[in-house]
């Protein structure tokens, strides 16, 4: 299988007081035709990694190969074959959408018609509107249009959906999905795990400049033990339960107690749940609350680092 991106022992230090070790020995292999996600909290080094891969930033050390070529020797060739949307670009306010896309198209030798790229991101209605008149989601889609207008084999998207409402996010997901279904490669960053789960074939979870977990979303969720989670809490009057006791229940992979609330990772909820209820009955404990749900990448990150991926906890549900 050929690789769209290979990087080995990537290191990036920003000089300064104190110096920042943004990337500390990062290895990645992105296969051709897959959608690969870099998932991590703010400051994890996602943008830095991406910009090194995009040939916009020189690594302190490490090797990068893009589409089997090196930046040093084949820069122009690689540029013709990739499309890039940066984390934050403010296009010229007083150019129209069509003019902006047409300008970007002129930079590539081959590619799609500018109007087609505008169609793909559903901005036909705004083709003659100035950039300054676009909403945030429309601007993101314009950035994607400029990234795909050269018909790239490999597309880089840095946080394409951050700050967008759910509908705009889903629109962008559709664009990415249809791009990838034509056999091309997408590499994106995000700190929304639902996005990574929905969009990416494989995910690398990055923290403090290192990959701390790598695999398909379901593999990663499986790794934390059990794809299903049972959260419950007891009435205040009840005596607490021990983790050991819970761990011995059938089909339970792990158990965490945190104050009055408990989390069980289980393989088969239809086995674990009756056993749990029977156990509570025997011990004479009363439930105040119980939910079951699928494990998410958020839980993976939490179990690996003890921290949450995003500050806003409501994204978990």
């Amino acid at each position: 299988m050929s690789h769209a991106i290979v990087c080995r022992e990537l290191v990036k230090h920003y000089p300064g007081k104190p110096p920042v070790e943004a990337v500390r020995g990062l290895d990645l292999e992105v296969r051709e035709g897959e959608c690969f996600g870099l998932l991590g909290p703010n400051g994890a080094g996602k943008t830095t990694t991406l910009e090194i891969l995009e040939g916009l930033l020189d690594p302190t050390s490490g090797d990068v190969r893009i589409l089997d070529r090196e930046w040093r020797t084949h820069e122009q060739e690689i540029r013709e074959a990739i499309g890039i949307s940066l984390q934050e670009t403010r296009f010229s306010d007083k150019l129209t959408v069509a003019e902006t896309v047409r300008m970007f198209r002129s930079f590539y030798r081959a590619g799609m018609a500018p109007a087609e790229a505008v169609d793909v991101v559903s901005l036909e209605e705004k083709a003659d509107a100035y950039v300054v008149q676009l909403s945030g989601g429309q601007r993101q889609r314009l950035a994607v249009a400029c990234a795909i207008v050269g018909d790239p084999r490999l597309l880089f998207l840095d946080e394409p959906t951050t700050g967008l409402d759910p509908q705009s996010r889903r629109q962008l997901w559709d664009i990415v999905n249809s791009f990838r279904s034509s056999g091309r490669t997408v590499m994106l960053t995000t700190h929304a795990m639902d996005e990574a789960e929905r969009l990416c074939d494989r995910v690398a979870i990055v923290d403090h400049g290192r990959v701390i977990a790598l695999g398909t979303p379901s593999q990663l969720i499986g790794q934390i033990g059990g794809e299903h989670l049972i959260d419950f809490s007891l009435m205040e009057t009840s005596q607490p339960l021990s983790e050991d006791q819970l761990q011995r229940l059938p089909s339970v992979r792990s158990a965490h107690a945190n104050g009055g609330t408990y989390r069980l990772a289980v393989d088969k909820p239809h086995v674990a749940l009756p056993a749990l209820l029977a156990c509570l009955q025997d011990e004479g404990r009363e439930l105040s609350h119980l939910t079951t749900r699928h494990g998410t990448l958020e839980d993976v990150f939490l179990s690996l680092t003890g921290r949450r991926l995003t500050e806003d906890a409501d994204v978990v549900a």
Binding site: E54, G55, L56, L57, Q76, R79, E80, I84, L86, E88, T89, R90, F91, S92, K94, L95, E99, R102, M103, F104, R105, S106, F107, Y108, R109, A113, P114, Y130, C146, G150
Partner: protein
Amino acid sequence: MSWRESSPLWQLVMSRIRLFLREPSAVFWVYGFPLLMLVALGTAFRDDPQERIMVDVVGSGNRETVLERLRRESRFQIATPADDGWRKRLQYGKTDLVVEADAATPVGYRLWEEPRRAESRLARYAVEAALNGPATSTPGPASGPEVRRLEGAGSRYIDFLLPGMIGMGLMGGGVWGVGFVLADMRVRKLLKLFIATPMRRGDFLASILISRVTFTVLDVVFLIAVGAWVFDVRCQGSYLELGLASLMGAACFAGIGLLIASRAQTIETVSGLMNLVLLPMWVFSGVFFSSERFPAAIQPVVNLLPLTALNQLLRGIMLEGASMFAFWPQLLLLAGYGVGTFFVALKIFRWR
């Protein structure tokens, strides 16, 4: 796809031109503001509100009589330059009228005026009245004094001002149109996105220069046309050389603009650098009044400023009808600034 759609150079140049034309404030500062200045200053300095009439008295013959008569009225400010310098003084507006005493003329003197300047006309009437007034013992001949006109234009303030405004426009256009625009693109991360594509950097820089040249031509033609229509300002030298000198100035300031923008990562930095460059030259380079009025001690510095050189060059061509090559030190200085800044800027330019 048409060639226009597939040519990056065309697309980049058109984008720059569109962006400029769609930004009303930019259009105002580049075209409207110099025009307003021109009209305001050209009008304001047309009349002398203090009624001070500057008269030079020269020649021999009954010069003392003329002087004595004129001195009776305090509004006359009389100078008696010894040499031939009065022609220049009249031409540059340092005096309003010249009375040349000459016994060979019917009334004993001849008047030199500059017909384009209203002050000169007024001075003539005032002087004629003073010299022929009731105090005169000899009856004035009905024909009046002989009046001569100085050949050639370029003696009014507006004539002096217009080349200065052209110079100022070229400076502002270069520094703003290249410096600010590039820094703004860097701040927007557009520059980074451009070089993330296969776009050639040469095309990009060429597009900046081409749009600059386009605007320079418009800029200069516009000011000269308004000057000619409204104030009857003429260029004494060759219009072609005036154009070449303007392009030279534009190129020099484009280089300076490029240098200003080469590292700046915030709009505040680039604004500060722009003011640092623009302000001293607005003050010292002789846009509104001759830079020679500054003390001799600072003249060497003043003369090293690129705008001083450009203004001297433009005034030489427009006012004195000189060949631009007579101002080779100025040309050399401008070329030096242009080439020097361009290469330094390219060396240290931050694309990312």
